[in-house]
């Protein structure tokens, strides 16, 4: 192996009294892709931030080209050719794409900015990742995946010696993942050292030259990627044997009542004519490419954004849902895909976040803090949330935030649950638990809609899958038709819908 460009030696890191990294060693070699794996909260993001100069280490050494070095700021890291793509978006929402791409290193012509050139270059960088986003769009107007592609474009534009990517694929669809991987391959060939994390082990197997696995702040395995299987990775991460990822599907019991009936649901600009029946005990998947309007359709259903038409019946009774509280009153809950901006109050600790939506259950005249604490204990246990209770949740690891969000939604005891990308950023062990948990909920008589951009997840979990394309419902797949191929065909609009799927809305059996 060539000499590493960047190495960590015995790195420790504490937040207050809690030490989260207990002496990490890591080597990044040129032309190699290194995968860093571990459970949520294992310390991956923290290690990466130390590598790139975003956070100081409490102890230990960083070696750059074999010489000990210290990064006092991300700027130092960047000067040394180390670029990082964050797990959380590091884009200023009120600025345009172009302004973000060149933030802190604007091109100038004399004293003034060379806007034309920056716009031109932005377009080129975006084109490298096949993104058609206009450089003059405000970042706040982009969808999550578009933001991520902008981040990637921004990072690629900086000609890094070391590229660090913290869960770059979590918000991407498979097509975008392919685009990213092509770029990574090119960088590897050009001699860049690459470190990335992902909870999608197939991606790791496909891309990585070397794998390092962390558990509870320590490295438990490090070695060439071809010497460890996906199962091996999972086992090393979780610390126990993994059984099947997806729970068994019992199938919708015949004669199960329809709990949610939707006809002609439309949400201006985003979705038209969505209609389906959701049975008790069923998990309905919602597939489509990014921007297909799944999120917006379901937000319209749950009263979060105005819907422009459609009939909704819950348990046979027509209901009007104009605001989220109406939906909650019918015990229809929505778990957002965007935990940072729409899911959690990042500046508050766990307790108020957990009970925010179900606060009425904890408050007569006054809030019962003891009951809240008990609920939090329970949630921490049920969802295996790791991190300090007193810290602001913005400082929790990404996966643990997602678990907290799930716990928050579940506290409202939904009868009908819509979960949007529920396992985004969740480690494989917990994913398995969440799948089992969703299936158990269904078995207990709840009805669930799962939106996911991970095709495998939908196929593994859902009883039926509704596919959307450009705001329209293309069909509902079930039984043997539940295959990646047929979903993709519908999502791309290349198949004759009727041959692959039932036409919707179908008449319940």
């Amino acid at each position: 192996m060539a000499d590493p460009i960047l190495s960590l030696r015995g790195i420790r890191r504490s937040f207050g009294p809690v030490e989260v990294l207990h002496g990490i060693d890591l080597d990044l070699a040129p032309g190699k892709v290194h995968a860093l794996l571990g459970e949520n909260g294992a310390g991956k993001s923290t290690a990466m931030k130390i590598l790139a100069g975003y956070q100081p280490a409490s102890a230990g050494r960083i070696l750059l080209d074999g010489a000990e070095t210290q990064f006092h700021s991300p700027h130092d890291g960047e000067s040394a050719g180390i670029i990082m793509i964050h797990q959380e978006f590091a884009l200023a929402e009120q600025l345009t794409v172009e302004q973000n791409i060149f933030l802190g290193r604007e091109l100038r012509k004399g004293l003034l900015l060379d806007k034309a050139r920056m716009r031109q270059l932005s377009r080129e960088y975006l084109a490298r990742v096949n993104s058609q986003v206009d450089p003059d769009t405000l970042v706040s107007r982009l969808s999550n995946s578009e933001k991520q592609m902008v981040e990637i474009a921004k990072a690629l534009s900086r000609n890094a010696r070391v590229l660090i990517m913290d869960e770059p694929t979590a918000v991407l669809t498979s097509r975008e993942v392919e685009i990213l991987f092509a770029q990574v391959d090119a960088l590897r060939a050009a001699g860049t050292a690459i470190l990335f994390t992902s909870h999608k082990l197939d991606e790791v197997a496909r891309l990585a030259d070397r794998v390092t696995i962390m558990r509870d702040g320590a490295v438990v395995h490090s070695g060439p990627a071809d010497q460890i299987t996906e199962d091996g990775m999972a086992t090393a991460m979780v610390g126990r044997e993994m059984s099947d990822l997806y729970p068994a599907k019992p199938g919708i019991p015949p004669g199960a009542p329809v709990v949610l009936k939707v006809r002609d649901l439309s949400v201006a600009r985003y979705a038209q004519g969505i209609g389906f029946d959701l049975h008790q005990g069923e998990i309905l998947g919602l597939a489509g490419l990014v921007g297909a309007g799944r999120t917006e359709a379901m937000e319209g259903l749950c009263g979060i954004r105005p819907k422009t038409g459609g009939i909704v019946e819950i348990k046979g009774t027509p209901v009007t849902i104009r605001k989220p509280a109406d939906a909650l009153a019918h015990r229809l809950c929505y778990l957002t895909e965007d935990r940072k901006l729409r899911g959690l109050l990042l500046d508050m600790p766990m307790r108020p976040n957990l009970t925010l939506q179900a606060l009425a259950d904890f408050a007569g005249l006054l809030i019962d803090r003891k009951a809240e604490d008990k609920a939090l204990d329970q949630a921490i246990q049920d969802f295996d949330i790791r991190g300090s209770r007193t810290v602001r949740v913005g400082n929790l690891s990404g996966g643990n935030q997602q678990k907290l969000l799930l716990a928050k939604i579940m506290l409202s005891e939904p009868q009908i649950l819509v979960v949007d990308e529920p396992t985004r950023g969740i480690d494989i062990g917990t994913k398995q638990q969440i799948y089992a948990f969703l299936r158990r909920l269904a078995a207990e008589g709840h009805a669930i809609i799962v939106i996911s951009s991970e095709m495998q997840e939908l196929i593994g979990l859902a009883d039926r899958i509704l596919v959307m394309r450009a705001g329209r419902q293309m069909g509902i797949l079930s039984g043997a038709a539940l295959s990646e191929d047929s979903i993709v065909r519908l999502a791309l609009g290349v198949s004759d819908a009727k041959s692959a799927a039932e036409t919707a809305p179908e008449v319940p059996a």
Binding site: P17, V18, V20, G41, D216, G217, I304, K323, P324, A325, A327, L328, Y334, T336, L341, R342, G343, L344, L345, L346, D347, M348, P352, L356, Q357, L359, A360, A363, L365, L366, I367, R369, I380, Q381, D384, I385, R386, G387, S388, R389, T390, K408
Partner: protein, 332 residues
């Protein structure tokens, strides 16, 4: 459960600087006052300071909610002047019919509360329904109420009928067990405010709305309603403050309540509430109000500096009080 989940810490630890900071500043001021003048801690002086803090204090409690929910209200000073003017006008007008007595006083109180409520509602509706910055709406209504009271008073002073003033004077100057009414009402408002802020759903929702509107909306909270209620509450509290104010001076004019808004906002921030919203504490606001009142009081206790420089001393102490609170730059 992993070992990084720190158990809630037990045992004694010093509360953080953000908590002791304002308290410490207050204590320092009290020590300073007591060392400068032996009458400083006399019952009379303490009563004076507390009673006069009541107006701003009651308003500042309302302001704490507004700011916590991510809003701002620059109009409270003029609103108080306007409400006071209206209350005086109505009481004077009803005097011939009702005669001096409890019904008239109750009428006056009712008018004050109603006017405050409406004024708050108006601010709140413009802000939440039309989605205009609170700063602009309340800057506008500040001008409007100030003009209206000048106009009602025809450029001069609106005065309560003299006999009537005698009759309602006790509302400011008398009390129960030696504690005057303004202090009692202030204390009640603070206690209720603290409970509402820290122990009820509404307080939680206000902080949530101030912290992140989207998250609140997704969690089924009606963001507009919570905001609106904070403004209405503030309006009502301005009404209550006015009810205590009118008996004290018996008049209202265009100079009534000038700059109360800045004082109330300063008290809220000195108390540790975050100006951008998302976190508020009522008890802190009380400390802030007391600090501001004590500065004036202490400056009157001594003739150390030219009165021209009073403003400078106030400015320095306000900044120092907040520096104390921060300890050092919040490492963000």
């Amino acid at each position: 459960m992993s070992d990084t989940t720190a158990p809630p810490r037990r045992g004694f630890t010093l509360p953080p600087m953000t908590v002791i900071g304002p308290v410490l500043a207050l204590v320092l001021l009290i020590v300073l006052g007591a060392s400068l003048n032996s009458n400083f801690l006399s019952a009379a002086n303490v009563t004076n300071v507390l009673a006069r803090s009541a107006f701003i204090g009651i308003i500042a409690v309302g302001m704490t909610f507004v700011i916590t929910a991510g809003g701002l209200d620059l109009s409270v000073g003029s609103m108080a002047a306007f409400v006071a003017g209206l209350m005086i006008l109505v009481m004077n007008a009803a005097l011939p019919t009702l005669g001096i007595g409890l019904p008239l006083v109750l009428l006056g109180m009712g008018v004050a509360l109603l006017a405050g409520l409406c004024a708050g509602l108006l601010n709140g509706l413009l802000i939440t329904k039309l989605g205009i910055e609170a700063f602009i709406v309340t800057l506008g209504s500040m001008g409007i109420y100030r003009s209206l009271v000048t106009w009602l008073a025809d450029g001069g002073t609106l005065s309560l009928n003299f006999e009537l003033r005698r009759f309602i004077r006790p509302i400011y100057f008398d009390g129960l067990f030696g504690v005057t009414w303004p202090i009692i009402v202030f204390a009640l408002v603070v206690i209720i405010g603290e409970i509402v802020m820290s122990r009820t759903s509404f307080g939680r929702h206000a902080a949530a709305v101030g912290s992140n509107e989207h998250v609140s909306h997704y969690s089924g909270i009606s963001v507009a309603r919570v905001r609106l209620v904070t403004y209405v509450m503030l309006g009502l509290l301005v009404g209550i403050a006015t009810i205590l104010y009118v008996p004290r001076l018996g008049s209202a004019s265009s100079s009534t309540g000038v700059l109360w808004e800045l004082e109330a906002i300063a008290a809220v921030i000195i108390g540790g509430t975050v100006l951008k919203g998302g976190f508020g504490r009522v008890w802190g606001t009380v400390i802030g109000v007391l600090i501001l009142s004590l500065i004036d009081n202490i400056l009157n206790l001594t003739s150390l500096v030219s009165p021209y420089l009073n403003g400078a001393i106030q400015g320095v102490i306000i900044v120092l009080a907040v520096i104390l609170q921060r300890g050092r730059k919040a490492s963000s």
